[in-house]
Amino acid sequence: MNKTPRGISTKSKKQENLLILLKEAQSRHGYLAQELLTELAQSLGISIGEVYGAATFYAFLSTETQGRNVIRICKSLPCFLKNSQIIVDSVEQELGIKPGQTTTDGKFTFQLTNCIGACDKAPAMMINSDVYGDLTPRRISAILKACE
């Protein structure tokens, strides 16, 4: 998330910027800390509940620390039909963690996600914003090694 949409100042007081600010904060700090949510609520002049509500509603926002690379393997039916389970298994083996966990070195967070719109390249996954399709266990190893 390098770009702030035109006309949006980070100092703006409007609620319409809340989601944009949350996404920005997440890309800067990796996750949305409690203190940050409180500060944001104060600066926008809205309740903490409103900010926390939005922060916990969306799958791509996280109030817990995350790895530098967030792996999201699609678990929806089109990928399931193309045996996404073996991709899940290979990531588990490579990283030694289960879905929902982060590696101890903070390099990877591993999640399962709903349809990412890459069904024509199933099984597919995302690492951060990049999509990887037509996955095989062999490719997983190379893709993970290439991550910083």
Partner: protein, 404 residues
């Protein structure tokens, strides 16, 4: 019937990063033409074309525009719904990747027609990688002077299926949780920030420039009585050639699944994603249209090796996760459906569970706030109608009997 490319006419032909290649294909001629027409003329043309929304609901596009144009107030908005989250759908991704300029032109025409100065493309978080090329395309269009009195901004989602629902989408643009609103009022009268707003799917908009250039009559010659034009389908699952295909509305499901995507030994097809219909192979000749079955055009094909109960179970798990939680029929109902389908999946289902599934489905369809909850029981109801023996066999197996 072979493929007929109206919506996809520029895809794989133009260079999506160079506006000159779009201009060489009559790019922005429709916008110029529309600007020389009065608003009502443009809207009349769209109305006469019979174009209906391609996001799944099929609302007449011209009527939506007319309502917004006639609504009180000077501040109006156009929103392009690019929150393509339906399971098995990727057609809008393909369009955004291959031909952003037609979409931009269409949004500008919509803005002129309803009298809006500002528009938003709501792009799903999963498609963040398309942001850069979209911004570049908007930038090139602005530089050429086609967006002099009109702005297009992009707002990104943050991962929520329900934000493809128009009222949740508007709440999300307003920076809130993407929860569904009570309606009426409908968006054309009270939409984004309470102002008159039209929300159109990517594919719906893609039809606009060609309708303006070639006329309503040209468009309405294609299709069936109540389904004009073409439809873009996303085909995946047990097929040899998954991908995006555009067919004239009214074409048979068989053409798409067997002739184009080359599926074999088909058991059933899910049409319209998680909330869509599930139909057995013996209905493969069903025409695809608003009169019959369509949805947003997600086609997931299952071959004979697949287990119906597991498919429905996984579909319901998805819907329960993605329910926004605002209304209880959907929030609690989807969870209850998952629980019962889980019982069948584990071989613990009982006869009385079928009755509960049917009762609960009826209640959800009648009382849920939006399409998610209203249509969530569809895979359950369809599988009970067409594959009831799958449920009954599980019950018999549990009792130690032999499946039929």
């Amino acid at each position: 019937m072979p493929e007929n490319r109206i919506v996809l006419r520029n895809c794989e032909i133009i260079n999506p990063r160079r506006i000159s290649t779009y201009l060489a294909r009559n790019g922005f001629e429709a916008l110029s033409k529309a600007k020389n027409m009065v608003q009502d003329q443009v809207i009349e043309e769209i109305k006469a074309s019979g174009l209906r929304g391609r996001g799944g609901a099929g609302f007449p596009c011209g009527l939506k525009w007319e309502l917004a144009k006639n609504a009180q107030g000077n501040e109006k908005y156009v929103i392009c719904n690019a929150d393509e989250g339906e399971v098995g759908t990727f057609k809008d991704r393909y369009i955004l990747e291959k031909d952003p300029f037609t979409l931009i032109e269409a949004i500008a025409i919509a803005g002129h027609a309803i009298g809006a100065k500002q528009s938003y493309i709501y792009l799903r978080a999963e498609y963040h990688y398309l942001l850069d090329s979209l911004l570049k395309a908007i930038g090139q269009t602005r530089k050429r002077g086609f967006l002099d009195d009109f702005d297009i901004d992009i707002r990104e989602g943050a991962g929520a299926y329900v934000c493809g629902e128009e009222s949740a989408l508007m709440d999300s643009i307003e920076g809130k949780r993407g929860e569904v609103r009570y309606r009426p009022p409908f968006p054309p009268t009270e939409g984004l920030w309470g102002k008159p707003t039209i929300i159109n799917n990517v594919e719906t908009l893609m039809n606009i420039p060609q309708i303006v250039l070639n006329g309503a009559q040209w468009f309405s010659q294609m299709g069936t009585e109540r389904s004009k034009g073409t439809k873009v389908f996303s085909v995946s699952g047990d097929v040899k050639k998954p991908g995006v295909y555009e067919l004239v509305l009214g074409s048979q499901l068989r053409e798409l699944v067997e002739d184009l995507a080359m599926a074999e030994k088909v058991k059933m097809v899910q049409i319209g994603g998680a909330t869509g219909r599930i139909i057995p192979y013996n209905m493969i000749e069903t025409p695809l249209s608003f009169e019959t079955i369509l949805g947003a055009g997600a086609i997931t094909v299952y071959d004979e090796s697949r287990d119906t109960i597991d498919i429905v179970y996984k579909t319901l798990e998805f819907l329960a996760e993605e329910s926004c939680g605002k209304c209880s029929p959907c929030r609690e109902g989807t969870e209850a459906l998952v629980e019962i389908m889980g019982k069948f999946s584990r071989g613990e289902g009982e006869s009385r569970d079928i009755a509960v599934l049917e009762q609960l489905s009826q209640a959800m369809m009648l009382s849920s706030l939006c399409g998610l909850g209203q249509a969530a029981p569809t895979p359950v109801m369809d599988s009970l109608q067409y594959f009831r023996d799958a449920y009954e066999n599980r019950i018999r197996e549990k009792q130690g009997g032999v499946p039929v």
